[in-house]
Subunit: 349 residues, 2 copies
């Protein structure tokens, strides 16, 4: 009968009158002992309620834990409810699962902005996000594989999405119908908090945010090609990609007098675009007649609704798969660039 305390491999070995090496081999390297002995060991293990080698001890001895950590720049609360991050995670989980690894979730927004010590247990790290604090990055064990997603870590593998052409494509599509007045809603463009109207020059200068910057570049290239003066396109910034934070900014935009209110809004994320759509619908604006809206990311929520959101799809699941395969060493640790796909919905036909 299983005693209160968990039985150990050594005790099991003594019970059987064999060495610990044989018991260990019975579980890990069947070819190293006779079939008969192996069966005897496994049977006795079952009888005594021994569930196999202890994970903690094994990971100490072998140096491997079969655990991969994902370090998310945002808080877990945010990330888990963000569709793009969730898709990324499911891509990662899919590959890890298939290779017997499990997923440790780490938040870059811990109380003290340092990694919890338990993090160092992981065999490898996938870092997702815009600007994880350098302190955090320094905490990563440098001898372990690391993969950066959507940004770069000096000298490490990374997976990116080709944002500039994506932005260019969707802006080109939107500008096929010349807008009376266009507008851009940015996401976390500036380091310092700023929720609302923002100066375009200022926006381009504060280049710390690579992704938004690349998307802006794509928009501007399209403006150029279509003869639209960038200076005539007002820009707003949103601090956090959530409905609640978006709402006041968007309300303010929709409150503008008719002459100033844009009839085309290029949004940096689907979350923003969907919020625009919701608030516009509640006001009785006709989409797309009164207001055309484009998003970015191609999340499910935007496609499984009516009207469907016009957006550029990035395959976040695939991004996750690649990151996971890279961290497991199944794929060369290089820099990968994924392409995107224009999805024309009804919000900007």
């Amino acid at each position: 009968m299983p005693s209160s305390r968990r039985i150990t491999l050594k005790e099991l070995a003594r019970h059987l009158g064999v060495s610990t090496a044989s018991v260990s081999n019975a579980f890990n390297r069947p070819d190293q002992l006779s079939h008969a002995l192996r069966e005897r060991i496994l049977a006795e293990a079952r009888r005594l309620g021994y569930r196999g080698p202890d994970a903690k001890a094994r990971s100490l001895r072998t140096g491997r834990s079969q655990i991969v950590a994902v370090l998310l720049a945002e808080s877990l609360t945010y990330s888990l409810n963000d569709a793009v991050a969730s898709e990324l995670l499911s891509g990662i989980a899919e590959v890890l699962d298939a290779h017997g690894h499990t997923l440790l979730l780490l938040s870059g927004r811990q109380a003290n902005d340092r990694m919890p010590d338990s993090a160092s247990i992981a065999d490898g790290f996938i870092v997702y996000g815009l600007m994880p604090s350098p302190a955090l990055l320094g905490d990563l064990p440098s001898q372990r594989p690391q993969v950066a997603v959507d940004f770069d870590i000096e000298g490490r593998a990374s997976v990116h999405v080709d944002n500039e052409p994506a932005a260019h494509a969707i802006a080109r599509h939107a500008l096929k119908t010349p807008p009376r007045r266009a507008g851009i809603i940015n996401l976390r463009l500036t380091e310092r908090a700023c929720n609302g109207r923002i100066d375009a020059d200022q926006a381009l200068l504060s280049a710390h945010q690579t992704i938004t910057r690349a998307r802006l570049d794509g928009f501007y290239r399209a403006f150029d090609e279509c003869g639209l003066d960038p200076a005539s396109v007002p820009m707003w910034n949103i601090e956090e990609n959530t409905f609640d934070v978006c709402t006041p900014v968007i309300e303010a935009i929709l409150d503008l007098p008719d002459a100033e209110r844009p009839d085309l809004l290029l949004c940096m994320s689907d979350r923003i675009a969907l919020t625009v759509l919701t608030l516009a619908e509640r006001r009785g604006l006709r989409i797309p007649e009164d207001l055309r809206i484009t998003g970015f990311d191609g999340i499910a929520e935007g496609q499984y609704r009516s009207p469907r959101l016009t957006t550029v799809r990035q395959d976040s699941v695939e991004k996750g798969r690649i990151a996971a395969r890279t961290v497991l060493g199944l794929e060369a640790a290089t820099s990968r660039l994924l392409t995107t796909e224009l999805l024309v919905g009804e919000t900007c036909p």
Copy 2:
């Protein structure tokens, strides 16, 4: 300078000419040594690039890893993209974070339906889901705290939502306006696969699915009170709570001839209700005039849209918080029952 291999506590101790005990104490129990020595140790550690005690070794020695595992009945791919599961996870993560623990994600749908060995590293387990395979449950180390969410594990703590009154409340609300014809769309009611029309008796008999069963009971009690014959209410079943799986069943319902098509659909989840809403809108049906729709769960997607979904909100985040506090031993390991809140939106005013 940091060598290629990570330096160990023992080496650090030798460098300093002190015992390993003192070094360990410098990191873990500052009161056990003089301030001067502690500073000397920490300074040398920094100089040599020693990042603190190794997590694997520490967890072996102390028996604790500061890791809590969440075992999800569904695949991680599904769970991460399901709003209810995501909210639960963020509640869990919030509490774990605050107490210096991290989150290990385990899928109940592993290839071989067994727990990966690495799982046993966790200090405690939160099990979420309807019917995790008994084999999996047996794999959980029985001496570690376990908390069940939305179902029961013999003799373990659990957190539940009070589904029957919730269902009763929303059905009562919906029936205030007598429907010409009502219908119910169930979720994973039967053990065996069945996507489509289902017999009500059969539904009530196959009681293996506690949550759906409780909700059905609530609906039927409301039917009773309102003098609606349960036999007159057709029922459909959906296998998986995703847009793609819902779609064909719902299309079939909407395809029914006018006389048979329900003008009130009580759905077992917001995901289902939102799919109904989308498909109905695409057909040009007027909501709620031609079709009234209710959901269940109160996910953000249903509220941050227009029209807002009428539903019952369960506080999944709080459910997660309680589960996490319980597994950490901050809360008594009992059975908790959470109440719900009726949200009246525009899909069924």
